[in-house]
Homo-oligomer: 337 residues x 2
């Protein structure tokens, strides 16, 4: 799986601890001899009128050209006249599915063992339509938009993912007993797609019940697919089961195979620049990115080194109860390669 030309990847180190954890990925990739050429783009301090956000047009063009990117945490500054950085990326790059594998890390104990599920979130519409208005003073409406096109697209992605990743079952999460039309349409699309994948088991679970089942017995789930807001909620809940957003990878997938891997945790400004951040989420996201690029050997090699380092427990960052620095941890991963 090594081509003669290096693969160009757009890198958004992001804010706060972003540059430190991005440095960790660069070092691990370099040690593992992954032939990647990074195109680094930083979030600016002034709005680019062409993106209406602090992201430059050039940075978006870079992802479009390369077809693949890796992104650290970005904190959208408070204020008007610009759009959320995360939402801009999803919108401008057409990233329609957010894929979050969530698995227990051997040797890192939480209340749950053997969690191994993947949430696949519709990433473009639903409650995130941005359509809201004040009807009269004191009465506000927000629109949840569900379309057949976006629902089929993410359902297709989920079943295809299940099939190509050796998964057995897809659960669609919904509240169609209340939102009969919108979640009903989402369900209908999932049922249509399910028919094309007879080898994958299919079930429908109501969101409130799903949350209860997840905290009681998360091993009941395999692949979960759902509208935008439920995905936001369920993916964070699931991450909590195995230790938090500092330990879970995330991938955003767009039309034509464009992919943006990302650490979904915050930018942790309090510990930024202090060599204290845990680079695990970004490293695991980079592993997902390599799998997406079909660089499976490199992906496995790096993945094993990360898991081994966490499992050995000698080098753990502060968030995991240890005293290792970002660079200590990174060096340990490199040594384990």
């Amino acid at each position: 799986a090594s081509s003669s030309n290096p693969i160009r990847v757009t890198l958004f180190p992001g804010d706060g601890i972003g540059p430190e954890i991005a440095e960790s990925v660069k070092q691990v990739f370099s040690e593992a001899e992954v032939r990647v050429e990074w195109e680094e783009h930083y979030v600016r301090k002034k709005v680019d009128p062409r993106t209406q956000s602090f992201l430059t047009w050039e940075s978006l063009e870079s992802v479009r050209r390369n077809g693949v990117g890796l992104k650290g945490p970005m904190a959208t500054p408070i204020g008007k006249g610009h759009r959320s950085l995360n939402l801009t990326l999803r919108k401008e790059l057409g990233l329609f599915a957010n894929v979050r594998p969530c698995y227990s890390l051997p040797g890192y104990k939480t209340r749950y063992d053997d969690v191994n599920l993947v949430t696949i979130r519709e990433n473009t519409e639903g409650e995130y339509s941005g359509l809201e208005h004040q009807v009269v003073k004191g009465v506000v409406e927000s629109l949840k938009v569900i379309t057949r096109q976006a629902s089929l697209r993410v359902a297709e992605y989920a079943f295809h993912y299940a099939k190509t990743h050796g998964r057995q079952r897809v659960s669609v999460i919904h509240k169609a007993n209340i939102m009969k039309l919108s979640d009903g349409l989402f369900l209908k699309c999932c049922r249509e797609v399910a028919k094309k994948y007879p080898e994958i088991a299919y079930e429908e679970v109501i969101i409130d019940n799903c949350c209860m089942m997840l905290v009681k017995n998360p091993t009941l789930f395999d692949v979960l697919v759902m509208p935008n807001l439920y995905g936001d909620i369920i993916s964070d809940l699931s991450a909590g089961l195995i230790g938090g957003l500092g330990l879970t990878p995330s991938m955003n997938i767009g039309e034509g195979g464009i992919a943006l891997a990302e650490a979904v945790h915050g930018s942790a400004p309090d510990i930024a620049g202090k060599n204290l951040a845990n680079p695990t989420a970004l490293l695991l996201s980079a592993v997902e990115m390599l799998r997406h690029l079909n660089l499976n050997n490199k992906a496995e090699q790096i993945h094993k080194a990360i898991l081994k380092t966490i499992s050995e427990g000698k080098y753990r960052t502060g968030d995991l109860g240890g005293t290792a620095s970002t660079t200590d941890f990174t060096k340990a991963v490199c040594d384990n390669l």
Copy 2:
């Protein structure tokens, strides 16, 4: 706390296991000499045109007249021409707040210890508006409605509840970073009310983060208040932490102090009529009802007997891993009174 006249309470035994667990409450109340006169109302097989549901007009009148009711599980039959039983009750009785205390039961081990929180859910609007339409084929919109009036009302209730129940903190759960206008209005109302309760700590937590915190460390929370759908989700998640909906009480509160206590678990048709059901959720709901009626001594006495029975562990129903029947468990509670 005993008046000369018995208190009239409307009782909806409900479907499936409902009648058996309602019988359990009646026996425990009788043994504890709570002077209650039950007005029993069953869900019918045909739609009452005055309620557009299987609930009779007389049953709703009964709750209105008595000001207090207790309700077992009700399964809304599938089909058109009638409304959901639960939603009809909330709407017709103006039950604006759903209050769900959630606490670890001593002696019943789950992954979590010392959970002790209360979710207070706005119960009338939000995503439950029932307003949905197809814009064009394949494009559906659902309206989330947030009003100042309903938001202030539930916020007031939450802070008043916190103050009168010795609670320290109210957390409002929202997604105002995305639904800036609707959840923004809800937040604004909570902030206004918070100012009137300087003795109660106030915080704002985003729903996805809240779910992660709840599974990592639920003891961080005290009273949580939120719009309808988030309440639906968070209350079930919380119940999962301490063992499930079979163990958690629920109270619905309306204008003028009307109150409907309810078991929120399902009607479990598979075990109905077999003397296998766990009456705990309905018993604990009945305890909340007594507290609401200011019958605090009786409430405490019954509460202690329930907790003691569960903690002793000798009589546990099948859902808790035991072999006791509904009547065994009920008898044990009566013996512990």
